[in-house]
Structures are given as C-alpha cells and as structure tokens.
C-alpha cells in the first residue's frame, strides 16, 4: 500500500512538473491536489508501515514458536546493522548460526575517547524481558536490537557511533562504482573520439539532467548547479540500485541518508538565495497587513517543509519498496508454516509478484533519483530567481508542496 501511494504521488508529481509549466491556469488546482496527495501519500506510507509493524508484532507470538519472526526478518533487512548478514545456518542442536561479515565499529565516548574494533566481538545474544535483543558487553558497550540496532554504553553514558555499518559500506561501494564509471567516461571525452558504449548511455542521462532538470528550473545560471544536480542524481540512483541487489543494504531508504542529502540541497539553496527571494518571502508586496502576517508564517513554514519533503519522499519510497518486496517473499514462508504444499504453491504467486515489484522498484529507483534532483533544482531555482520570471516562482512553488 505505501508503495502504491508513493508511486502514484511520484508519477503525479512528475507529470505535474512536466505539463504544468504550460498550464498556469490549472496550477492552483493542481497545487492543492499535489498537496493533498503528498499528505495522503505520506501519512499513508507512514501509517501503513506502522500498521504492518503492528500486524507483525501481533504475529510474532505464534510464529516465534515455529522459528520465524517476520518483523525481525523484514526490519533486520531494511534497517542498518553493524554486520553484513548474509544468511543463517541451522546447527544440529536447532540453534541458528548466522553467516555474516563483521564490520568495523568506531565509537566515540566523551571522556574515554575513540574506540575502534570489529563487530565480531558482539557474538552472544539474549532477549530481555521487553523482547529486545541484547548482545554481550565489550569494552563497556553493548548492542540493543529492536527494530534498529543501537550501540549503548553499559554505564549509560552518552556515546557517538561512527561505525562503518552495512549502509556505510554499501554507500562506499556505490561511491567507488560511481567514481570509477564517471572518471573513466570522462577520460574517454578527453580522448576526443566518437562516443561509444557506457559513454553513450551516460551522455543521454547527463544531457537529460542538463536540458530537462537544470535548464528549465535554473535558467542561465544552470551551469553552476549542474555538477551538484548530476551528483545527487547519480549518487541516489546508484545507491537505489545497489539496495535492490539481494543481500544489499537499504541505504537510500534510511532517513539519515535522505536527511543528509536534503540538508545539502537546503544549504545550497540558502547559500544562493538572493534579495528578491527573501523580499517576497518576508514582505510580500500588495498584501494587507493581517494577511501578510499569515502569509509570511506560511511561507517560512513552506521553506522549512521543502527539505523535509525531499527527505521523507525518498526515504518513504525506498523503504516501502523494500518492505513490500520482503513481505511478499516472506509470504512464502508464512504459508509454508501452515502447510508445506500451500507454501510451495504460493511460491509461484509470490515470485511473480516480487518480480513485478522488483521491476517497479527499478523504475522507482531512477524516478526517485530524478525527482530528488529535479526538486533540488526547483528549490534552488526559486532561491536564485530574479524579478523577470515571476510566473515561474509560483509554478515551482506549486510543485514543491
């Protein structure tokens, strides 16, 4: 459900953006609509993910007896971890032995200082009274797993976790691929021969970003922001795709990541905002005083909502996609618990549906990257705009909400 909502929203926004530029008259209507869809979609995605969560909590009790905990499984996959878990082997005595790569832990504890060690030191897990998984203690630290993993100090003091987690490592893979692909493509341009292969594929995308995202939104100043937009687009896209690989991390579906990207976009927007932008925002012309107060309040709020919308959109879309795919696959095992043959029969349905979802996610991966880049361009465009194209401000504002 959340994914469908998000997708709907996604396509709608996309369409709105492309077509709306010509139909200003329909704009106010569309603005309202996209606002509604945003709210609806967001609450839909959040609420239904909570609903799922609740559902699964209910299911936890009977399933635990049979050895499957869907909540743990799904959220173990979509949330960050201090080890790269691949699969679990069952020992002869029935206990599970996880096969996982330990990852480096980097913990800063004020007073004690920096601690760097392997996560393989946390190997004994037990459950406390609330159902939380607690690891053994090492160097005065332990890991608590509910939906997310949290590193806590045994003495309760504040610590800062800078570990190279699964998501960080996945991102580093993405970064390496991105740097390698882009710099090797750039080298081919220096050779100045006819473009071929990868270079052609990249060129189409780069030109698309330049002509469809940067130029319409940023006008003649597009050259300055194009590297940022391209980096945002490719960074999100490659990480979206890496997240879809089996065993991959849910990097872009993590709110810390999207918050970081949204913050970068917001900082760039603020750093480049001009007098005209602030003038219109804090002192809208030709408006009575009372309305002005209200308007300024709304405008300031909308300014803050912009990065938040960027952040939540990508996060919710990617997370929802991952959860849906995992849930569909888990259905096989749930049915298999009822009856082996039912489970076997459901494999076909479940696989068909998850293949469909994977295809959809491939699409969503590029669409979300495009939307993030596009909205960043729209926001920056608003901030740097002069008086000459006033119409455009309202248009892009309509899109932003």
């Amino acid at each position: 459900m959340p994914l469908l909502f998000c997708l709907k929203r996604t396509f709608f926004e996309h369409k709105t953006h492309i077509f709306a530029q010509n139909f200003r008259a329909v704009m106010s209507c569309k603005r309202l609509l996209s606002l509604l869809i945003l709210v609806f979609g967001l609450s839909g995605s959040v609420i239904s993910s909570f609903a799922q969560e609740a559902e699964k909590h209910e299911n936890t009790a009977p399933e635990e007896k049979k050895g499957i905990n869907i909540t743990e499984l799904v959220f173990g996959h979509v949330s960050d971890s201090h080890e790269w878990h691949l699969f679990s082997l069952k020992n002869a005595d029935g206990t599970e032995k996880p096969v996982a790569f330990p990852l480096p832990m980097i913990i800063y504890q004020p007073g004690t200082g920096l601690k760097v060690f392997s996560s393989s030191h946390f190997e004994e897990w037990h459950k406390d009274a609330d159902g939380k998984k607690i690891s053994n203690e090492y160097e005065g630290l332990y890991i608590e797993k509910v939906m997310k993993e949290k590193v806590l100090a045994s003495d309760g003091s504040k610590i800062y976790d800078f570990s190279i987690t699964k998501n960080v490592l996945s991102m580093l893979f993405g970064v390496v691929i991105l740097l390698w692909v882009m710099t090797s493509a750039a080298k081919k341009y220096k050779a100045n021969t006819a473009p071929k292969g990868m270079q052609n594929a990249l060129e189409v995308i780069i030109i698309f970003i330049r002509d469809e995202v940067a130029r319409p939104n940023l006008g003649h100043k597009y050259k300055r922001f194009l590297p940022l937009l391209l980096t945002i687009f490719f960074f999100i896209w490659i990480n979206n795709l890496l997240g879809l690989l089996p065993g991959g991390a849910n990097f872009t579906g993590n709110i810390a990541v999207t918050a970081c990207l949204a913050l970068v976009a917001f900082v760039v927007m603020m750093a480049n905002s001009n007098k005209h932008f602030w003038g219109h925002l804090l002192n809208p012309p030709n408006v009575p005083f009372l309305v002005k107060c209200l308007l300024v309040l709304i405008e300031v709020m909308s300014l803050c909502i912009k990065p938040v919308a960027l952040m939540i959109r990508l996060f919710a879309n990617m997370l929802a996609g991952h959860i849906v795919i995992l849930s569909v696959i888990c259905l096989i095992f749930i049915f298999a618990l009822l009856n082996v043959y039912v489970g076997g029969g459901f494999v076909i349905v479940s696989l068909a549906f998850s293949i469909f979802m994977f295809m959809l996610e491939l699409l969503v991966a590029v669409i979300q990257a495009f939307i993030f880049a596009n909205l960043t361009a729209v926001f920056i465009g608003q901030a740097i705009e002069g008086d000459h194209d006033h119409d455009h401000v309202e248009l892009s504002e309509g899109l932003a909400h």
Binding site: F75, D80, I106, F162, N167, M171, V175, L178, L226, T231
Partner: protein, 164 residues
C-alpha cells in the same frame, strides 16, 4: 518511530562521502564531460551554420553563374549575328567587286577582241589587196606578154575611158 530517527554515524559518513564524491566528480568528471559536450554541441551548431552559409554562398554563386551564362549566351548570339552580318556584307562586297571586275575584264576583252578583229581584218584586207595586186600583176603580165593582149587591153581601156 525507531525508523524515523536518523543515526548520527550514517548521517556523518553520508555527508562526507557525498561531499567527497561531489568535489571529485565536479573536478574530474562533470567538468570535462560537460565541457566536451558543450564543445561538441557548439561544433555541431557551427557546422550547421557553416553549411547553411556555404549553401547560401553556393546558391548565390550559382545564380551569379547563371547570370553570367545567360550574359555569355546573349553575347554569343549577338556576336554570331554580327559575324553573320559581316560575312554577308563581305560576301556581298566581294560579289559586287567580282562582278565589277568581271565586267571590266569582259569589257576589256571585248575591246581587245574588237581591236584584234580590226587588226586581223586590216591585215586580211591588206593581204587580199596585195594578193589581188599580185594576181592582177600576174594576169597583166600574162595578157600583156602578147601584142594582141596589149592591144585588147588598150582598147578595153579606151572603151572604159569613153564610157566615163
């Protein structure tokens, strides 16, 4: 709410990685790629503009050529006409002159023929005269050899005189 609280560590690493990627790619990837894309597009635009210009020049040249050709054709026609006129004139002149010459020659020839004829006639007359005289002489000689002859002649002469 667990999922909605960002982790500091991931945020930190993402920020660093993203900024690093941004600065590296900006310098080593986007700049060369965008520059060469721009150059290529400019090159293509220039080529098209040049082609357009050359095409214009070509058509101008062609029209000029056609104009020149038409002019040349016209000139050729006039030249031909003039040449023909000249030729006719020359031929006519020549004919005229030839006729004149011929007439003159004919006149001369006739004159000469007349002269020759006259001369020949005179000569013939003279010859005939001398021949007649010779014959007469011979006859006279023969007739006047004998006395009767002389006498007869004398009588004849006398007769003639009488008659006159």
């Amino acid at each position: 709410m667990d999922l909605l609280t960002p982790e500091l560590g991931l945020f930190f690493w993402t920020l660093i990685a993203f900024l690093a990627v941004f600065f590296i790619l900006r310098k080593y990837a986007w700049k060369p790629i965008l520059n060469s894309l721009g150059e290529r597009e400019k090159g293509i635009a220039d080529s098209i503009a040049t082609a357009e210009r050359v095409k214009g020049e070509m058509s101008q040249l062609k029209s000029e050529n056609e104009k020149l050709l038409a002019q040349a054709r016209e000139e050729r026609t006039t030249m031909l006409r003039e040449a023909k006129e000249m030729k006719d004139k020359i031929v006519n002149d020549a004919k005229e002159q030839a006729k004149e010459e011929a007439n003159k020659i004919i006149v001369d020839a006739q004159h000469q023929i007349q002269q020759q004829k006259m001369a020949a006639l005179t000569e013939v007359k003279n010859e005939i005269g001398s021949l007649a005289i010779e014959v007469a002489e011979k006859i006279l000689r023969k007739q006047l050899n004998a006395s009767e002859g002389q006498e007869a002649y004398m009588s004849m002469m006398a007769k003639d005189i009488k008659l006159n």
